[in-house]
């Protein structure tokens, strides 16, 4: 689905070369020209660390022998720092120093390349590091993605809601959170079978993704329950988004059961300036309570709480 991590979509890996010799930059540039990579260069350790943190390259090629901060110290700092910790590092070593290679591996380097570069070896080692780096990124992303719908999963949602809430609290920016639950989902599964149920879940996920804005974060919370985090969105705007989603879903015709429409109930909570008193768990609790009310009062409707005014409103379709 469209949640495929960006790193996997882009064909170009970014390789950061940290080496004090301009010749090395020139040689690598020529030697890797035909590879699908973007080469960026840093002339010393401090500049290299800065660029690694800002640009998060796919792979780093790191010279050991540099004046000032040497390659081992750079490697140590890369491994100590969360944003750069997982970037694979290939050390550039001289021929005559076996101990350097051992030290490099001990510090967390994934590989080494001897100078002067052997063309075939250089390309093979860079390709292999790019491949494993992408695999690691993919696995990390996959762990956050729901297999059926391609939306973010609950693990991602939990972490993300906390982040977004504290960001909005800090900067006094609005925030809204909606919980969607498919009405009579068990009946659909029982009547039309699990493939039909899966199709409904996928359809809800696609509608969420299509109808929300790029800055919104749709997640599959579990079962037939979905969440939508809407940063920078006051409750009344969020309400319009939720109603659009609810109405679009209700109007959809399902190939497996054209006679049977699908509706959702929605619990919504939001604030123009989220207070520091409520935690992410309490936000979710309020949204859940509203979802429960929506179910109790006839389903296929949105119940909204504005935390600033303290008012709760029911809107039915």
């Amino acid at each position: 689905m469209s949640s495929e991590p960006t790193q996997l979509q882009s064909s170009h890996a970014v390789i950061l070369v940290i080496d004090d010799s301009p010749d090395v930059h020139r040689l690598l540039g020529a030697r890797l020209k035909s590879e699908p990579i973007d080469l960026i260069c840093a002339a010393d350790g401090a500049m290299g660390l800065r660029m690694a943190r800002e640009l998060r390259p796919t792979v780093i090629l790191l010279d050991i022998d540099m004046p000032g901060m040497d390659g081992f110290e750079v490697l140590r700092q890369l491994k100590d720092d969360t944003p750069t910790h997982d970037i694979p590092v290939i050390m550039l070593t001289g021929m005559q120093s076996p101990q350097d290679k051992v030290t490099a591996f001990d510090l967390g380097a994934v590989d080494y390349i001897c100078k002067p570069f052997d063309l075939t070896e250089l390309r093979a080692r860079v390709r292999s590091a790019v491949r494993s780096s992408r695999l690691v990124q993919m696995l990390a992303q996959r762990a956050q993605i729901d297999g059926l719908t391609g939306l973010y999963n609950r693990a991602h949602f939990d972490a993300r809601l906390k982040d977004e809430l504290s960001g909005c609290q800090r900067h006094a920016r609005s925030l809204s959170l909606a919980v969607f639950d498919c009405d009579f989902f068990k009946q659909i599964n029982d009547t039309y079978g699990h493939p039909a149920g899966d199709e409904v879940l996928i359809g809800i996920a696609e509608t969420l993704q299509r109808e929300c804005r790029a800055s919104d974060i749709p997640c599959r919370y579990g079962g037939e329950e979905f969440c939508l985090i809407m940063p920078d969105t006051p409750p009344d705007d969020a309400f319009r988004v939720c109603e659009r989603i609810r109405q679009n879903l209700g109007a959809m015709v399902w190939p497996r059961h054209p006679e049977r429409s699908i509706t959702v109930s929605v619990g919504l909570v939001g604030a123009r300036k989220p207070s520091h008193e409520l935690t992410a768990a309490e936000w979710l609790e309020t949204a859940d309570k509203n979802l429960y009310t929506a179910k109790q009062t006839g389903r296929n409707r949105t119940i909204i709480t504005d935390l600033m005014s303290g008012s709760t409103l029911a809107k039915a379709g």
């Binding site: 010799s21 010749d23 040689l27 540039g29 020529a30 001289g94 100078k115 002067p116």
Partner: protein, 116 residues
């Protein structure tokens, strides 16, 4: 640049990069060769002005670069120069200065013979 006269014909022969047929290397080999006179000048001035550390740094860089451009002989000579300079630095061996002089002449001659 005219190389010093020599009895051994081989020392006057131009040397070419082992990568001279490699299309992706052509341009940077030409750049490297074009910059060699500056490198030699910098090294010889550092030598005559006894700036050993500067010379050591330049020799080290040339050692690392030469082979990459396909001039292994230049790298080997630069490595010998680096070694001689290091022993000159540490034990001030009587013959170290002489070996360094021989090595820098050797580097100079090889660099002058290098062609793209």
């Amino acid at each position: 640049m005219t190389p010093p006269p020599s009895s051994g014909g081989s020392s006057e022969k131009p040397i070419t990069s082992t990568y001279h047929d490699d299309p992706e290397m052509g341009e940077i080999i030409r750049d490297f060769v074009a910059e060699l006179p500056q490198r030699i000048h910098a090294m010889r001035s550092a030598f005559s002005e006894q700036r050993l550390l500067d010379l050591l740094h330049l020799a080290h860089q040339l050692k690392g670069a030469g082979g990459g451009y396909g001039f292994d002989q230049i790298s080997a000579a630069a490595a010998r120069l680096e070694l001689a300079l290091k022993s000159l630095q540490t034990d001030r061996a009587a013959d170290a200065a002489e070996r360094a002089k021989v090595a820098i002449d050797e580097v100079t001659s090889l660099c002058r013979r290098a062609t793209a």
